[in-house]
């Protein structure tokens, strides 16, 4: 197997200090290969967003990130200095955020944002760019994300554009920098159905065009179905199941994944009543128990006595559940 683009082993991220310290990511491990889209799926409190931010070191000062291994292209991100990390960001690692409106400085034009980002990394089709060319490159990038009037768009201020439009600009900007890895943090959650579909399509096509590795963070299984090569399902700070998308959608190994799928299926099948997972999600402890045990329909005594370890279902598909025969 070649070196993965991103290798994460036992990532733990906590906030605060002392008594008030709370762990949000509780030991997450995964690999992301070049040109691959990995869906990171989970509900609120599962730690999926924090996982993404931990990789890019974009968390606030009170956050504390530890990992047994956190490498980009074989290079340990933990050992990269602040200056180098700054250089890696944008050029190699980039991120698309959930709120397109907030992603732009309201006091600056769209064009300013793109030109400054391009100027920062001096990138473009020909490699080095003169400042004067940046505007043209920016316009070209906007065209690639199906923005019809790039000049007008560039002269606009963020509040003059819709969320979908802004997300498109952000995607153009991010992929225009040619990063190897993009973390997309619920980029479509705030968008309308049709726009969501367009944005997903856009990410997919840009990803293919640039052969970018994408970590796609979402709470929506159906979104993952159309976009991701593999999915990792998170629950309370850990990945409970990871594997190829089709495999997991067809034969989920974890009761939680199965429950989510059952609900989605019963919606599609127009059942009289929907399949329900009882209880509410949230950060629950994994100490000497399975965090999902309280909601699990298949719970056994073992689930509340010890922490389930990761088991391989088949090559590339593993699950954290006692009930699954190894």
């Amino acid at each position: 197997m070649p070196t993965p683009l991103l290798r994460v082993r036992d990532l733990r991220t906590s906030f605060g200090s002392g008594d008030r310290r709370s762990e949000v990511v509780k030991g997450v491990s995964f690999d992301l290969n070049k040109g691959e889209v990995l869906g990171l799926i989970g509900e609120s409190g599962s730690g999926k967003t924090v996982t993404g931010l931990s990789v890019l070191q974009l968390l606030p000062d009170n956050a504390h990130v530890e990992a047994a291994e956190l490498t980009y292209n074989g290079r340990s991100l933990a050992e990269v200095g602040a200056k180098d990390m700054q250089r890696l960001r944008g050029a190699d690692l980039a991120m698309i955020f959930q709120d397109p409106v907030g992603s732009f400085n309201p006091a600056k034009t769209i064009g300013w944002h793109i030109v400054k980002a391009l100027g920062r990394h001096s990138v473009g089709p020909s490699g080095d760019l003169k400042p004067g060319d940046l505007k043209a490159v920016a316009a070209e990038l906007l065209k690639q994300v199906n923005i019809r009037e790039p000049e007008r768009t560039m002269a606009s201020y963020p509040h003059q554009l819709s969320g979908g439009m802004l997300q498109r600009v952000l995607i153009a900007m991010v992929f225009g920098l040619n990063p190897k890895l993009v973390i997309a943090d619920e980029p479509t959650t705030n968008l309308d159905n049709l726009v969501e579909r367009q944005i997903l399509e856009l990410i997919r096509s840009q990803q293919r065009q640039h052969d970018t590795g994408v970590l796609f963070v979402t709470h929506d299984l159906t979104v993952a179905r159309h976009l991701c090569d593999r999915v990792a399902v998170m629950y309370s700070g850990r990945i409970v199941e990871i594997g190829p998308t089709e495999r997991i959608l067809e034969r989920p190994a974890h009761p939680y994944t199965a429950g989510l799928l059952a609900t989605a299926r019963s919606l599609e099948k127009r059942d009289a009543a929907l399949y329900e997972i009882k209880g509410e999600p949230g950060a629950t402890s994994w100490a000497k128990r399975c965090a999902f045990s309280a909601r699990c329909p298949q719970v056994t005594d073992r689930c509340t006595a010890a922490e389930p370890t990761e088991r391989t279902v088949e090559a590339g598909h593993s699950v954290r559940c006692f009930n699954h025969a190894a």
């Binding site: 819709s162 159905n193 049709l194 609900t263 019963s266 997972i277 999600p281």
Partner: protein
């Protein structure tokens, strides 16, 4: 103050709410700047029948929430009418009590954070029913029970409850005065996936068992399909298609509905910004089937069968 645009209908009329040519315009612009009217509701005509669930389906800015609130009298209409059928039997409460209620999108802000959930639910009871304190406590427990919460939740403050629990409590509050209709505005979109199913099931069972009509506002086709008897698809203030849910979903006539259905199946629509049109069909600039006149002439409502209608010159 409420229902100033809503007149009582003659007794015996079948729909619960009858909306005719409802137009709602907001004035926008600064105090001294150029004002312009933004048409949020544009010639809406719709009946909501007793005991049915009707889904208002649409994207943000389509006017679905405004329409829901207008039904409740929270927004006065610019023109047109919304009429509410008078209650069939004299209900055991004061005359001005409102039997149209609402459940909101954000469960946390549905309750005044300074008071316990119980006291917020009890407020309409105290306001409109002359009940003893014991009776109120009893009624509170009963209401909470109906939405699957135990009576202990009455003493909790909103921030001490989870989203799902709060949404149940919000439904309990809406039920307090035995309403005939509840407008549920994106009532599950802020909830976690695994909790959504619980609330949707609850709403459906309340509708089936207690014959409470729901106007369910959503942008999620799946939810609409599961819950609704009928669906009204809205686009920039207009209802572009209205009909029984299966019929609309399985064989949409309006290109917009069709596009929504396709998107759900994974087919990306044409990338074009949604735009409001001054004269023609609002959807014309995104519509793959648009004709010349679509840009200039506003399509009128076309009936298709008894209960299916749409606004399109060139339907699918």
């Amino acid at each position: 103050m409420l229902h100033n645009a809503i007149n009582a209908m003659p007794v015996g009329a079948s729909p619960l709410i009858r909306i005719r040519d409802a137009v709602l315009e907001f004035k926008i612009g600064k105090a001294w700047g150029a004002k312009r009217d933004l048409r949020v509701l544009d010639e809406i005509s719709l009946d909501v029948n007793e005991g049915e669930i009707i889904a208002l389906l649409g994207e943000s800015g389509s006017g679905k929430t405004t329409l829901g609130k207008a039904m409740l009298g929270l927004h006065p209409l610019t023109s047109g009418s919304i009429k509410v059928a008078p209650p069939k039997a004299a209900a055991p409460r004061r005359q001005d009590a409102h039997d149209l209620q609402m459940v909101f999108q954000d469960p946390l802000s549905s309750f005044n954070p300074r008071f316990t959930v119980g006291s917020s639910i009890a407020l309409p009871l105290r306001l409109h029913l002359k009940l003893s304190e014991e009776a109120i406590v009893e009624r509170l427990a009963e209401l909470l029970g109906r939405v699957g919460l135990n009576a202990g939740f009455a003493h909790r403050y909103p921030h001490e409850m989870s989203g799902g629990q709060l949404q149940r409590a919000a439904i309990a509050r809406a039920l307090a005065l035995s309403p005939r209709l509840i407008v549920a505005d994106e009532a599950v979109s802020k909830l976690d996936v695994s909790v959504r199913a619980q609330i949707l099931n609850l709403i459906k069972s309340l509708n089936r068992s207690e014959k409470i009509a729901f106007v369910f506002i959503t942008h999620d086709l799946g939810v609409a399909q599961f819950l609704a008897d009928r669906v009204a698809v809205m686009y920039f203030g207009r209802i572009v298609e209205l009909g029984p849910v299966d019929q609309v979903m399985d064989s949409p006539r309006h290109p917009y509905t069709a596009m929504l259905m396709n998107a759900r199946k994974g087919q990306a629509p044409v990338a074009e910004e949604a735009k409001r049109s001054a004269k023609g069909c609002n959807f014309a600039n995104r519509c793959p089937r648009a004709l010349g006149k679509c840009h200039d002439v506003r399509p009128e409502v076309t009936a298709f069968g008894d209960d299916h209608e749409f606004r399109c010159f060139n339907p699918v």
